[in-house]
Amino acid sequence: MTCFPRMSRRQWLALSAAGALAAPASGWFGQAASAAAATRRRSCILLWMSGGPTQTDTFDMKPGHANGGPFRPLLTTVPGLQFSQHLPRLALQAEHLAILRSMATKEGDHQRATFKMRTGYLPQGPIHYPTLGSILSKELTDGASPLPRFISVAPYRFLSPAAFGPGFLGPEYAPLIVGDGNPVPAPGGGQADDSQGLRVQNLKQSAGINRVRADARLGLLEQLESDFGAQRPDVPALSHRSAYRQAVRMMRSESVSAFNLEDEPASLRDSYGRNRFGQGCLLARRLVERGVPFVEVSLNGVDGQLQLGWDTHQNNFDTVKSLSSTLDSGWATLLGDLHLRGLLESTLVIWMGEFGRTPTINSNQGRDHFPKAWTTVLAGGGVRGGQAVGRTSADGNEVADRPISTGDLLATACGALGVDAQRQNMSNVGRPIRLVDPEASVIEGVLG
């Protein structure tokens, strides 16, 4: 008995297609598919809240109830819609936000919940499900940008590494990761200007190696690679070629100036927040502007440390207050900046974590994992903003109206991006997998 199906010829073909074997002969120097796409493709920015953000202290306030906690609600620019007092700048952008207050999921463990929210599926035997960024960037790319199609800022991958990778789509669809080192503390305490933390290192050819010589070297390398790779169509070898090809293409493009955050006015950088999340949001705008279809920015901790910052079992209110301040500056400035540049209509912004937190406050002034009734947010392109969708009960413990599943959320995101959620990719076990669970349906009234 085999417990893992044998790889079929079809899978070999799929693997080859996903990897380096499909490269044109002039692999290193391949030109962009078309200079300019006829219509602007849509882009997606995922703001990922590591640890599971509390809905009760952000977007689903329960004023007057014991579960409500000390935060006060704040009126927004949309009548009837209230956010937490610690999200004042987002309150001014409320017209762009659709607050989905009736998320109803099942996973209460970080690892499984992170996997489910980020891939749309539960870990199942041998199938390597790809992360959202890999799935959507594959659909959204037009091949025109010399930058990687999926860039991830500061992901904290430890608990659920598979939820951050390209899975069966293969190395070609893996993210370029920046900012996952720890920030350097400023001499006097606090966080130093973090622009270097989001730079891509080693983009320039070594001193003394001119372009012609670099091409000659790459020619030699290509010859060595084709001999070795032809006999070993395995992930490590395919991924090596794919990474080199993308690296060379990136090195030789003007678009890498996206990473020069110091080209932006200091006041705008201040407004985003001089921290990894804020500057990550600014980078996201610069990347989207240059045609990158998917960027994710993780908010892990106030000080930029890699951790599950929103996992507030203790001391929820102090922590959430400071996280909210970081979130508010970064996200609100991003929306305003995208809007100003005419990019917001073509850019979907998703805000989510792996689950919400208990409306009940525990004895450590904390809130625990809570998948039963919680909040995510869609904003920008394709979304009818200025509304709350669904409702929770007065104590926040139950969904009172229109429960939304993970699949529903992802199907709606696909809808906003103009992507067919029922398209299929061939998986590593030779079974086609739809982008989003076919049971899911687009949430009514959210698409604009």
Partner: protein, 527 residues
């Protein structure tokens, strides 16, 4: 005629040496091969042929010694006519300091996975790796090593400041510190690491797939009930233990539970020794099937890239081993040979399965879990840097020899370890990132290593007067890929170098060749 004293001495040594019969290794390897091959023929899979000497040597060096062989070693091995030379080189490697360093990395990653992801946990590395190196150098058995971890005395250790000063002292204490001294973390890690059992999902709810219940989880955690962390101080918080405490309260409930082993049995009420002693006694016996199986499976996964049970620490009912008989056989022999890790490694390296080429030679070789050809594995960060250093003649500095600690001035080695750190994937799924490719193409280390002024290997090869161009190309191949160029490669590259490349300078053209070799997947992967 009286025997000479030397012969007598030799006889005496033979009599005293461990009870490994000379043919134990090949006997067991042959039995494993028969099981693997029976499965291959049942599935009508054609196995790949045996790897040539150069492919085997490079693989054995990387797996057991953590870096590529020097070119002089390759030349000697290729010239050696002794049919037993593969076995010999494995024995030499296992007796060398390379093995001690490589396997202290391997065990550290298995036992302290936290240090891969959490930079703060890395302060724990030096003390723990120092301890592992000591144990490996002393040839401590696996069982004794694990017993020492599970039973290490926890005397009160003072404040974090004192801890910080003591952190580099060799000790297995880091196992506890990395788990933040929490009984539930320690229980989960102990079960997963030493028994291959994942019980942690039962921490919060009954396990959806397996038979562990929440109560069983906390009863197992009760073996660590006496542990206490004092005050703050992150990973270096002070620890103490009330050894006789046996009751643990399930958080969020009013229920307290006492220690119960995972097989449902309990320590005798008359038992007065510390709970961790009792746990070690139960865990580490030839009679506990989980203990040996988890260990040999980990070693198999290290050598073959994929465990017999895979992922290697997930022995659940819905994740059966690919070759249950091989797993049982190895587990039995492991405990029968005094839990000797090196014995198992000798056996694995002696199997035909390990000696197969990694080339795909037949379309039937698709399923990696049948071991019809060797898997292509990514290198660990340490393997990448140490191989680059070996190939380019880089002499490590004092800073390179220090283990990477956040806040310490960086060294080329530590920068590589950081850049190539891979917290996620199995070696057969390991991916090169764009950032790694950029560092290897343009970074200062490879730039220096391929510069005629600064690279020892390159300068020596380019300037050795007795060499013709073909010799120079061959020398670079041996240093990097551990093999001679194939005739077609030689012709093409000699032509390139003699033509001087684009610089019209044959020495610079040789540097181009070396750059390409060091950037190739053949160099950067274990195959």
């Amino acid at each position: 005629m009286p025997r000479s004293p030397i012969v007598l001495l030799a006889l005496l040594i033979t009599a005293l040496s461990p009870p490994v019969r000379a043919d134990d290794v090949s006997d067991l390897a042959a039995r494993i091969d028969r099981l693997i091959e029976a499965r291959l023929s049942a599935e009508t899979v054609t196995a790949a042929p045996t790897a040539d000497d150069a492919e085997f040597l490079r693989r054995a060096y990387l797996d057991l010694g953590g870096r590529v062989p020097r070119s002089s070693r390759v030349r000697k091995f290729l010239a050696d006519k002794n049919p037993g030379k593969r076995r010999e080189v494995v024995d030499q490697l296992l007796d060398s300091s390379l093995y001690v360093v490589q396997f202290s990395n391997v065990w550290r990653k298995a036992l302290l996975p936290e240090t891969a992801a959490d930079p703060q946990a890395r302060v724990l590395v030096p003390g723990f790796e120092g301890w592992l190196r000591q144990k490996l150098a002393e040839d401590t058995s696996y069982a004794a090593m694990v017993r020492e971890i599970v039973t290490v005395p926890l005397t009160p250790t003072g404040n974090p400041q004192q801890q910080l000063q003591l952190r580099n002292r060799p000790s297995p204490l880091a196992f506890y510190q990395a788990k933040q001294i929490k009984p539930e973390n320690l229980a989960a890690s102990t079960a997963r690491t030493f028994l291959g059992i994942r019980i942690e999902c039962a921490q919060c709810h009954d396990h959806p797939f397996d038979s562990w219940k929440q109560g069983e989880f906390w009863s197992f955690a009760a073996f660590f009930a006496g542990m206490q962390r004092q005050g703050r101080g992150g990973f270096l918080a002070a620890i103490s233990e009330v050894a006789e405490r046996r009751e643990l309260e399930i958080p969020g409930t009013d229920t307290s539970v006492g220690p119960v082993y995972l097989d449902g049995s309990k320590p005798l009420p008359s038992e007065t020794r510390g709970a961790r002693q009792l746990l070690a006694d139960w865990m580490i016996t030839a009679g506990n099937p989980y203990f040996s199986r988890a260990a040999v499976n980990r070693l198999w996964a290290h050598q073959f890239g994929i465990g017999l049970v895979d992922p290697p620490d997930d022995f659940t009912a819905d994740n059966p081993p690919s070759h249950p008989e091989v797993l049982d056989l190895l587990a039995t022999e492991f405990s029968g040979h005094g839990f000797d890790v090196r014995f198992i490694l000798r056996v694995l390296c002696a199997t035909e399965a390990y000696r197969r080429t990694s080339r795909l030679t037949d379309p039937s070789q698709g399923d990696p879990r049948l071991f019809s050809r060797m898997a292509v594995k990514g290198l660990s960060p340490e393997q990448i840097f140490d191989s680059l250093a070996q190939a380019t003649g880089y002499v490590p500095t004092a800073a390179d020899r220090q283990l990477a600690i956040p806040g310490r001035p960086s060294s080329p080695r530590n920068e590589f370890l950081e850049l190539f750190r891979d917290e996620s994937s199995r070696p057969t799924q390991q991916r090169t990132t764009i950032l790694q490719a950029l560092a290897l193409m343009n970074g200062s280390f490879v730039t220096a290593a391929t510069s005629l002024d600064r690279s020892r290997t390159l300068a020596a090869v380019a300037d050795f007067p007795a060499f013709g161009t073909a010799d120079r190309v061959e020398a670079l191949y041996l240093a990097s890929l551990g093999r001679r160029p194939r005739p077609r490669e030689e012709t093409w590259l000699v032509l390139y170098v003699d033509g001087g490349g684009v610089s019209k300078d044959s020495r610079q053209a040789l540097a181009d060749v070396f750059w390409a070799l060091l950037n190739s997947s053949e160099f950067l992967l274990n195959h």
